[in-house]
Amino acid sequence: MRAAGQMSAATATRPRRIEAAPFRELIVRKGLPYALIAPALLVILGVLGYPLAMLVWLSTQHYGLRELFQHQGRFAGLSNYATILADPQFRYALEVTAIFTLVNVALSMIIATFIALLMERVSSFVRVLLGAGLVFVWATPVIPSIDLWQWMFDYEFGVVNWLLTRIGAGNYIHHNWFENPLQGFTVITVVVVWGAIPFLALMLHAGLTQVPRELVEAAQIDGARGWQVFQNVTFPTLKPLLLILLSLSTIWDFQVFNQVWVMLDQRPSQDYFVMSVFSFQESFRVSQYGLGSTAAVIMVAILAIASFFYVRQTVRSIEEFGR
């Protein structure tokens, strides 16, 4: 198409307003977005609306098994919140989870970006292999995969222990990786990052297909090296997607549960109480659903506060882009 081909680099990324249209088209155009979001909105609110409201309500109730079976909560006001927020373990969980999330998100995003860029540059055969491999990792059910990692670091049977000893990095036979929380969290980080990479890498790989090839070539003709091309052409196109994936990563890594729980045979010591483990241990494990709901609400609040600027920025940029 001639018009598309004449598009210059400057206008490629800036949107333009559509001209005013006749009245009938106006109704359709005004009504169209609502029609587009309506089905999704109905499903989300229809299924999750009542449960979310109940979640908030439960956080103000004393709601153990007896209350659950009788469908009758005992009003607790804000005492659940007081219980959790005043718990010294809560403070510890928050600190540990914050650091843990930061490290995991950074590592996942960097490695995933590297892999996505790599996938662009390999031959198509290797690309398909890598894609299939990533999907295999992604599709493997979580619990068995964590079991595998646990075996690899096992006190007695660990392959990693055996390998490290063999190559002379020290004696790791009968080494318990989880005695020291720092070491233990390192192992858990490896597992989390390993599980997170496929989704991120494949998404970024898809995102990279949207980088206009001609801009890359134009920049290269102008003499730009690899890193500069990335900085000036690739990154700006990828930025919205990167931010979205960053936000998703943060939410997910903040909520990490299985990797800690299963690696430690469902009996983590207090050193390993990340937020989700702490909240589970204090509440759901002992069927205290009121307290558990409170913990969930608090976690959402923390995430909301942490992502406040990101959300505000996103909303603003959406409105800027708007028509």
Partner: protein
């Protein structure tokens, strides 16, 4: 939501309501006239299929117009499943509950009080005491014992022969037997005479109980942690001596992989459940060549010739408090808990039956475990006991004792305080 989906959902609701209306029992006096659907939840792996089929066949003979749905449930996250089921409108009528879970659900009003019908269950007079204890809450009976499992020591007969060691009949003999084994095989850094992972409190409890100690005692409705009593501490001291000399297992690990470790061939003894023999010798999970080399003996008491009390694991059968088919549910449970099918649970299922009168049906290695079950104890039967377990109080105590981080006095004192606090709510 698009219209079609709305219609579909409405239809689904209508169908569900219709089915619910048609499903209620008619309380006819003639059993053959009774109708309805009985829903039974059994746990994966508990009853052999032939037993379930047999119970259903006998039940059908008496109640030809009642449909029985036996649904197998998984162990992962089973408490969440039970919580939701009891909270909803369609709980099962009969369900199998792990014996440590009963108190929690009984206290919450989920189970039917069957104290007055106890006599109508076959063998109720000779039910295994600790299973009955697990079913009893505040003096009332809330379930029927189903089957049990107990622990004893599995050992390598060939290693014992090679080291010139015979089956110990007291704890002192156990220690000296282990020492002989260690001197013969101990140069292998992986070898353990008695493989004892630090967190294995089910295996530690017999030592506490044997010396007269306990986890907690109850008087006048109030619980008090008892691990810091001198008797309990004595038992733990004996255990620590044994573990530090005879075990190379992870002092901070648990017993989940001990069968795989045993199958590797470098362990002489483990404290284990009866079914672990199967795991060790199964070609899919262990080493079949060990089958002929395995023997078992009960954990010996510190008093020569006696055996230490063991923790009795197992399951009970409960009837939901808001089941609409109380009578039918009881009849079904009577069958599975009765002599005919309990015998089959022993011979086919290889488990310990709910009554001492049938224990002698066991043969071979299972018989040793069944005999050990005669001297058995249960955990404090408080609805808050589950909280003690989930707080890892006992595991943490043992780990700090075995790793030397705390003295026995300090560790037991801290644990007792914690237990007192949690059990009293």
């Amino acid at each position: 939501m698009n219209p079609r989906k709305l219609l579909f959902t409405a239809m689904g609701v209508a169908v569900a309501l219709l089915v619910a209306a048609c499903g209620s029992t008619s309380t006819a006096s003639n059993p053959a006239d009774q109708t309805g659907t009985l829903t039974v939840w059994l746990m994966n792996g508990s009853a052999p299929q032939s037993v379930v089929d047999g119970v259903n066949a006998d039940f059908k003979a008496k109640y030809p117009n009642v449909t029985v749905n036996v649904e197998i449930q998984q162990w992962s996250d089973v408490t969440t499943k039970l919580d939701t089921a009891f909270a909803g409108t369609t709980p099962p009528d009969v369900m199998e509950l792990g014996n440590t879970l009963v108190a929690k659900y009984a206290a919450a009003g989920a189970l039917n009080d069957i104290t007055s019908q106890k006599a109508s269950f076959e063998n109720s007079g000779t039910w295994l005491q600790s299973l009955t204890d697990s079913c009893t809450y505040q003096g009332k009976l809330y379930c029927v014992p189903y089957y049990a499992g107990s622990r004893a020591i599995i050992y390598r007969k060939d290693m014992f022969d090679a080291a010139g060691v015979s089956v110990p009949t007291s704890m002192d003999e156990l220690l000296s037997a282990g020492q002989k084994l260690m001197s013969k095989y101990g140069s292998n850094p992986n070898f353990s005479a008695l493989y004892f992972p630090g967190k294995y409190w089910y295996a530690a409890a017999p030592f506490v109980w044997d010396f007269g100690g306990d986890i907690a005692t109850q008087s006048g409705g109030k619980w008090t942690g008892a691990l810091n009593s001198s008797a309990s501490q004595q038992g733990l001291t004996e255990l620590k001596t044994i573990v530090s000399q005879l075990s190379r297992a992870d002092k901070t690990g648990d017993e989940l992989k001990q069968d795989q470790a045993f199958a590797q061939g470098h362990i002489a003894m483990i404290i284990a459940n009866g079914w672990e023999v199967g795991v060790i010798t199964d070609p899919k999970s262990g080493d079949p060549s060990l089958a002929s080399k395995l023997g078992a003996f009960p954990i010996p008491s510190h008093v020569a010739g006696q055996t230490a009390p063991v923790f009795l694991g197992g399951s009970d059968l409960g009837i939901a408090a808001n089941s609409k088919h109380q009578d039918l549910a009881r009849e079904w449970v009577k069958l599975l808990g009765g002599t005919k099918f309990q015998s089959q649970m022993v011979t086919v299922g290889g488990v310990i039956p709910n009554t001492t009168s049938l224990v002698s049906l066991s043969s071979g290695l299972p018989a040793i475990f069944a005999a050990a079950a005669k001297t058995s104890r249960f955990t404090p039967n408080s609805p808050n006991w589950a909280n003690v377990e989930s707080a890892n109080v006992l595991q943490n105590m043992l780990v700090s004792i075995f790793t030397g981080k705390s003295t026995i006095a300090d560790a037991t004192s801290a644990a007792s305080d914690k237990i007192t606090q949690i059990l009293n709510g």
